[in-house]
Symmetry: C4
Subunit: 199 residues, 4 copies
Amino acid sequence: MNKGRLEAFSDGVLAIVITIMVLELKVPVEASFAGLIPSLPLLLGYALSFVYVAIYWNNHHHLLTLASRVTPGVMWANMHLLFWLTLTPFVTEWMGKQSFQPEPIMAYGAVFSLCALAYHILQWQIGITTAHPERFKQAFGRDLKGVVSPVLYLMAIGLAYVSPYLSYGLFLLVALLWIIPDKRLVAVFEASDDGKHDV
Amino acid sequence: MNKGRLEAFSDGVLAIVITIMVLELKVPVEASFAGLIPSLPLLLGYALSFVYVAIYWNNHHHLLTLASRVTPGVMWANMHLLFWLTLTPFVTEWMGKQSFQPEPIMAYGAVFSLCALAYHILQWQIGITTAHPERFKQAFGRDLKGVVSPVLYLMAIGLAYVSPYLSYGLFLLVALLWIIPDKRLVAVFEASDDGKHDV
Amino acid sequence: MNKGRLEAFSDGVLAIVITIMVLELKVPVEASFAGLIPSLPLLLGYALSFVYVAIYWNNHHHLLTLASRVTPGVMWANMHLLFWLTLTPFVTEWMGKQSFQPEPIMAYGAVFSLCALAYHILQWQIGITTAHPERFKQAFGRDLKGVVSPVLYLMAIGLAYVSPYLSYGLFLLVALLWIIPDKRLVAVFEASDDGKHDV
Amino acid sequence: MNKGRLEAFSDGVLAIVITIMVLELKVPVEASFAGLIPSLPLLLGYALSFVYVAIYWNNHHHLLTLASRVTPGVMWANMHLLFWLTLTPFVTEWMGKQSFQPEPIMAYGAVFSLCALAYHILQWQIGITTAHPERFKQAFGRDLKGVVSPVLYLMAIGLAYVSPYLSYGLFLLVALLWIIPDKRLVAVFEASDDGKHDV
């Protein structure tokens, strides 16, 4: 199977997921700035989910460069990941409309935990079929962020009843962890980039 | 006509079909998990339709690799298939919102039967214009799944009044049939893959 | 400017236009087939618009193959065409929800007339910049359909008060005119295709 | 990172942003042309935003042709730009539904100002990583439009309480400034185009 078409399809789904969330932002029924206040929690949730989906898009791209063959296992692991990502607008809207109440926040954390799990399954499927096992191990082997993130997600879910803002802070922390460029990863890709442009 | 642009357009439509279904999931008006219960049938229907559209995307890709020319017949057979696939969010929402009542389930089965029929018309149009008739016959000739699926669809439609859950089970069975990799198909594509990367 | 990116962007917009129309089909609030009856006019309108957008996609593709350079004129003529095409879901919904009353049908005809006009402006812009003026003239010179279609649109608009069904029939006739493969066009592209695969 | 995939993802998001705005146009509940009148301000706002997003798409394309590497800085500057662009349907709808009242117009101007700022950050990130610093400086150095636009935006925001129509006129003026082809830019790209087709 053609890897390019799998990437294009995933990009399409992610572009729609990241964009349709804005359809949930209902415009104020009045013409004053005060009318925007009820939309603020939803906007805050939207910004967080936007960053998360952007991180998934970014990581997905790096991961796919090391996929040598699109086996049925890779194809369905990818679809499984997309399935959970398509549910993120739903939990984002629920969390935002309920102004960060505990249970919607727990649902938000649960869906993103399932995205993270699905991402690891995809990584595992690509790892067993890649033609570059050393580069793959080097890039994804000591996956500290991949271990820390689910721990932080679980903490965020568990602490939702204590303080929803603490949970939101933990979600933000996970996002920041992933935005900061991973020097090890960059090194691997730049090394493999010698002599050819456009990975 | 350029095959690549036909594939890209089809991918775009399928990516939107698979994603917009989530817009139908209305978030609970309360902040408790109990509020999610009314959304469960719709979520179950969404998961089933997601898998179906993913299967169509996968099969569409394999089929198109053997299309040598995009004749007007192939172009319109493809549009016809996309038309019925765009109606799947509509029947999914109806089935889910009515909690698997018989008539919405029958409509669901009918639209997916029409998708299957449209897929066979596309397969036939590609078959008569392919430059690789032997490979095409080998890959799609003894099409057991293609015969079994409509029979199961018709059974699901017929049994909807007896038990909607039985119908849902039959739809699930069709999906499982298609998810399990088709060793014969894989063999054909791998054979034709010798010596060149990226089909 | 890169022609490929202009095509990809246009494909993306057309794929969304053709798909989001289905979001307007509101599912019945009851679980019986009778509940589908109020949706029928909208479904009929959707089918017609789907075919129209598919025709535009098809013609757009052929036209762009003869564009040698993406000048600002071509770029904005293309955006202008996309603008009117994005308004087609709006008039389709209005026509369908009002069950083919005269004025919504006239609005439907007007928007598609503006699409046709925008298409001709794009064709003119590509014609004056193409590197293959003879092939362009041969393919688009004696543009019988392009002359007949606006006449039929105007008739459909004018007759909407006499009989909405007659107007719908005329819209259907225009669609059929374009679906039937244009042998002259095919000949031009096949002639230019000698010796190279993939136009 | 692959520049092509960043472009494709951005194109996808922009195509959705430009198209979903039409979902906000609620069809009249009556069948007469008079029913369209309440939709006119929204339609006017939609047309303006459509032109703005088209300009961003166009400029984004030119800018990316000079990006040599997709560094994390370029990747996140691009996502940041997409974030503000995804909020444009929200402010467009608010401005249109409130028939150009001062505060929604100020919000509209603020979101597009943030888009402009995000665009400059992206330009700066690409500028420090480009392999063609002279061509980059030549194309984007004396950026008169880039200086005039934010001034006009700020004037539009400031004058919203004086006259909303003046603000709308200023937004229109910015759009016209950008639609008129930039001869200097065209010269740079055509010069760099000698000897190779398809930038």
